[in-house]
Amino acid sequence: MAGQVATGSRRGLRSALPLLLPAYLWLTVAIFLPLSAMVFFSFMTELPLSGKAWSFTLDNYASFFSQPLYLTLLAASLRLGLEVTLWCVVIGYPAAYVLAKVLRGRSREAIFLLVILPFWSNGLVRIFSWAMVLREGGILDTALNAVLPFKINIDLMYSYPAVIIGLVHSYVPYMVLTCYLTLQAIDDSLIEAGRSLGASRLQMLKRVIIPLSMPGLVAGAALIFVPVVGSFMEPRILGGRTGTFYGTIIEDQFVAVFNWPLGAALSFILLAVVLVILALASPVLRRAA
């Protein structure tokens, strides 16, 4: 019996191989090889490109622990990741619910298009347009002052809130899409059954809708949290003097001083920390999902 299953699955694998090959070939060439090169770099004293003598060392990893600077920044970046994820849930989940359960037909397509639209524009363009909106004398400031009877001064540019706004805008579509998929899969008859049994709207949400859509929420949160922790472009452009995060100092190591080994080591520490967080969270999340 067991043997039969084994041969069966092996035959399945053989026929699946041509289908899997392109994806795995691509992953090997585009992700696995460069990543292994970076792991290799992170243990070196110098880049071999520079023509200087190099040797293996653990110093790059040690410097993370010897300088409080890196820990402070990592904490700041993790906090940024949590805050952005939270705002994405607050904004994205209701939107996904309306898309999945309230709107139908044309209007759903139109709203869906609006949600996807930011994906079609370049990230830098998005961030620079926020710069025009948020600064003093910018679009938001001018528009509000034109409408309001009293004078207010809105200058969000180069601040922590500006970074949050820019990142939430970039990543909220992920949350909308993942939640939309799980919310749409909820059978309407379950909702009707709950209603007919006398559940209030809040009870429906707490007992039926949120638990059933949890996988979408979790997937969206992971998709958003991980890249935000390592983000460097948005903080640099929108954050001004408060825009130094873990991602920006990794960028500095690569671009400004060409210390690739240290930059690589810092990146892998970030990767490890993120993996640990996801691993610690996974039992909780799995139960929830």
Binding site: L49, G240, R241, I249, E251, V257
Partner: protein, 351 residues
């Protein structure tokens, strides 16, 4: 933001090196983007005059430039190197001696630049001085009735939240050295520099990294004063008609010298010599200053060809200014990393 470019260049250079086995009459030039050598009118004039075709490639930092030279031996014919990096390029055997007799305009280069010990080794010339300039202060003219004269204006409470400084560790530390009255190439009291820069942080609105950042902030009236490059301030005023003027503070300013070198293994040395000669020619320089705005030419005749009241002639040529400025000397990798550590610490503590 700069990372995609970086990875793109790593893959692109591999393709480049194999596919573009440079033909003899092509001149491959490596320089900053938007820095004279890629002006379309200049390339057209040079190509017409010499029959060489110019192929431009760019770098975003001196380290990137050195890496491009290391990883692409034989690809480039001309490279623009800040004189402070000439030593390092030579030590790594990336550049070759230049036969200046093939470059007629070399004779007109002012002797203090041509004779710079950073560009000459064992009686051989490894860099032809092109232009020099200052990292000084620039002001938003709308914010000042009379231009300030002291570097201390950056710390003036009146400009709180309206000051900018470049996000560059070396520039920031050397700026701090000038503000504390020290020699930028021999900083004795690093603690004083750190304390001075720490007290500057609350004044700062944001850090700039490109000319475009600076000009945008002035155009939208977000800053009053900040560190800026002399050539860029000139470009902002001439080309973009912005209310920007350069201030060379009484305490001094950081000066840099940019020079052209020929990489080891260049395939078109004759074309490289012709290109360098063209770049230091007075005719090109005057056109560059008038049309676009530029730093100061190292060629004395080129500067003399400017109108008498031109900023690059009147102010930058002033002997009083010459006394105040300090030219950047080479710095070691260890110093650079120490400066970066200091700078990052300052930026983190401000949070």
């Amino acid at each position: 933001m700069r990372m995609p470019k970086l990875t793109a260049f790593l893959t692109a250079t591999a393709v480049f090196a194999s596919a573009l086995a440079a033909t003899a009459d092509e001149v491959h030039v490596l320089n900053w983007k938007g820095y004279g050598a890629d002006e379309p009118w200049a390339i057209a004039a040079f190509e017409k005059a010499t029959g060489n075709k110019v192929v431009n490639d760019f770098f975003n930092s001196e380290q990137e430039m050195l890496t491009k030279l290391r990883t692409n031996p034989g690809l480039y014919d001309v490279v623009m190197i800040n004189a402070a990096f000439n030593d390092q390029a030579l030590a790594e055997k990336l550049i070759q001696p230049i036969d200046v007799s093939k470059i007629p305009n070399y004779a007109d280069i002012s002797p203090d630049k041509a004779g710079s010990p950073m560009l000459n080794h064992d009686g051989k010339v490894f860099g032809v001085p092109w232009v020099w300039g200052l990292t000084a202060l620039a002001i938003n003219e709308k914010a000042f009735e009379t231009p300030p004269t002291s570097i201390g204006e950056m710390w003036n409470e009146a400009h709180k939240g309206r000051v900018t400084i470049r996000d560059d560790a070396v520039e920031a530390v050397q700026f701090g050295a000038i503000a504390t009255g020290q020699n930028i190439n021999d900083i004795k009291d690093m603690e004083a520099v750190k304390a001075k820069l720490t007290s500057l942080m609350p004044q700062i609105r944001t850090f700039w990294s490109s000319e475009n950042d600076w000009n945008q902030m002035v155009a939208s009236n977000q800053i009053d004063i900040g560190t800026y490059w002399s050539g860029s301030a000139d470009r902002a005023k001439t080309h973009f008609k912005l209310p920007v003027s350069l201030v060379i503070p009484g305490e001094g300013a950081v000066a840099w010298l940019d020079a052209f070198s020929i990489p080891v293994g260049a395939k078109n040395v004759a074309g490289a010599e012709a290109f360098i000669n063209y770049m230091i020619d007075p005719k090109f320089y005057v056109e560059w200053v008038t049309k676009v705005g530029a730093p100061v030419s190292a060629n004395a005749k080129a500067v003399a060809a400017l109108p008498e009241d031109a900023f690059n002639r009147k102010v930058m040529g002033d002997p009083e200014v010459a006394k105040r400025i300090q030219f950047q000397a080479p710095i070691t990798d260890a110093q650079r990393e120490a400066y970066l550590a200091l700078w990052q610490e300052l930026k983190v503590n401000v949070k």
